[in-house]
């Protein structure tokens, strides 16, 4: 499903953020990526989401060499990935429903399908009554749920979440992980980056720990 081989990442002439990172994730698994701030978690997730290119190494997604793939193939791979960004990233002049529908809009899905899928998702996440609001009108926890809805609206094969526990509300964090586990049950591979190692250890899923850009201790559970 996901294979990193000796992946390194460096921005410009700066220090290496990731160094010789190698691992493989099986389909239908949930992994936490842990590490302190600056350990390289976001860089790792961005490379996995094809939002950045590694400086060195090989990346295989769904058995396709993502680095050798054409731009069109990389775009198609991105459509199989759902990403919950740390800063959520919305189109602020569009409604919540329109933001959640964005991936389907990119796919060219017909309007009725978009409307039905988005309505069902917002209902599931308890945001049905907020669908016409704009993102800035929501609380941090609500924004995160909207970001999750947008990430799963296509039914992705790979779901990535960057610091979903960072909003400081334990109940919301637990609800968020609960939603991720439901995606796991439908066969989605899930990767969650968090600096809260204790929180990650509460769920018994395998953990990739980054220490100064290096994967330390391999995969632990």
């Amino acid at each position: 499903m996901v294979r990193f081989e000796k992946v390194a990442k460096r921005y410009g002439d700066g220090p290496e953020i990731l160094h010789d990172v190698s691992f493989a994730l099986a389909p239908g698994s949930l992994h936490f990526v842990t590490g302190a701030s600056g350990a390289g978690k976001t860089a790792l997730l961005n490379i996995m989401a094809l939002a950045e290119r590694p400086s060195a190494g090989a990346l295989k997604l769904f058995d396709i060499d993502a680095e050798a793939a054409s731009r069109t193939v990389r775009a198609r791979l991105r459509r199989r990935i759902g990403m919950v960004f740390q800063d959520c990233r919305f189109v602020d002049d569009r409604s919540i429903a329109e933001n959640v529908a964005l991936p389907l809009q990119i796919d060219g899905a017909p309007l009725p399908r978009r409307r039905d899928n988005v309505a069902a998702l917002l209902e599931w996440l308890g945001l049905a009554d907020k669908s016409e609001l704009r993102p800035p009108a929501l609380s941090a926890a609500e924004r995160q749920r909207v970001a999750l809805a947008r990430a799963v609206v296509r039914g992705p094969d790979l779901l990535l979440a960057d610091e979903p526990t960072g909003i400081g509300d334990e109940i919301n964090a637990l609800l968020f992980v609960d939603a991720l586990e439901r995606m796991l049950q439908r066969g989605t591979t899930v990767v969650v980056a968090t600096r809260d190692t204790a929180f990650a250890d509460r769920f018994g899923h395998p953990r990739l720990h980054l220490d100064g850009g290096t994967l330390s201790g391999g995969v632990a559970s």
């Binding site: 094809l50 189109v91 991936p103 809009q105």
Partner: protein, 290 residues
């Protein structure tokens, strides 16, 4: 046509789009007027070539007697290379002066020179120095005016004017392209977060590019159309003014197929230049995305 239209990506329209359309309109206006000027110059050159190549004008003092005029005419007719010689009647001379003097000036009481229209064989032109010499012997104040030298200078001037007009057209294209490129780069910088989000969500570069370039091309088309219409109004007004002065032949008519083709070309060029510049800048930015 499905390949032409992008999936409707939520990329806002450029707030400064009317500036781009306005600049393209001004550039299209200038280019269209320069094009009209080139057509008018070409027409004038052809007309001058047709009427002046192979002609001389002999100017005699106003008090030249009919007998002396006859001597001069006989001399001209005998000269090898002269195919015809015809003295202009005073009424005809007065008509030639009317555009400068107006109708109210009594030209019949003015001391107008006697003019003789001399046709020569362009392939076997007479010895003009010798002819002038012989004319001096029978009419010392006779002046032989060779239009070919004047025509050559006039044609040289029109060639230079044509080069200037083409230079202005090239400059307008460069300015329009640079404006479109700057607008595209500014739009990309302003909407960078949104474009990166769409890219991260799986939008293809081609779809993003189309969503940015097609509206820019529309603005180029609009600007080109406004400039072409303004140029058409100007040409019509100029033609009207010239007609009232009796020099309508200098300005080509608005209904002339070449003018219509030129205006259509200006509209199309506005669209193509803006689209090409916007596409170049947009694609360069899109290729930087991972």
């Amino acid at each position: 046509m499905g390949w032409l239209w992008p999936r409707s990506l939520p990329i806002p329209r450029n707030a400064g789009r009317w500036h781009l359309a306005a600049i393209v309109a001004v550039m299209a206006y200038l280019a269209a007027l320069c094009g009209v000027e080139v057509i008018a110059l070409n027409d004038a050159r052809a007309g001058w070539n047709r009427t002046l190549d192979g002609t001389l004008t002999l100017q005699l003092p106003p008090d030249t007697s009919p007998a002396r005029l006859e001597v001069v005419m006989a001399l001209l007719r005998r000269t090898p290379g002269v195919t015809a010689a015809q003295p202009l009647q005073p009424a005809e001379t007065a008509r030639l002066l009317e555009p400068w003097l107006g109708k109210s000036v009594p030209v019949d009481i003015m001391p107008l020179p006697r003019l003789v229209d001399v046709r020569i064989d362009p392939g076997a032109a007479p010895d003009l120095a010798g002819l002038q010499q012989r004319l001096h012997e029978v009419a010392p104040e006779a002046q032989l005016q060779d239009h070919r030298n004047w025509l050559a200078r006039l044609l040289g001037l029109t060639s230079r004017l044509r080069i200037v007009a083409v230079g202005i057209v090239v400059a307008t294209i460069i300015v329009a392209a640079m404006t479109a490129a700057a607008a595209a780069a500014g739009g990309f910088a302003r909407d960078a977060d949104r474009i990166m989000l769409l890219h991260a969500l799986g939008a293809e570069e081609l779809d993003i590019g189309r969503a940015l370039v097609i509206p820019a091309a529309g603005l180029g088309l609009l600007g080109g159309a406004i400039g072409a219409v303004a140029a058409a109004v100007t040409v019509r007004a100029l033609a009207g003014s010239m007609q009232s002065l009796g020099v309508s032949s200098v300005a080509p008519a608005l209904g002339d197929y070449r003018i219509l083709a030129l205006l259509a070309l200006v509209v199309l060029a506005g669209c193509i230049v803006v689209a090409a510049a916007a596409a170049t800048v947009t694609w360069r930015h899109l290729l930087r995305l991972p």
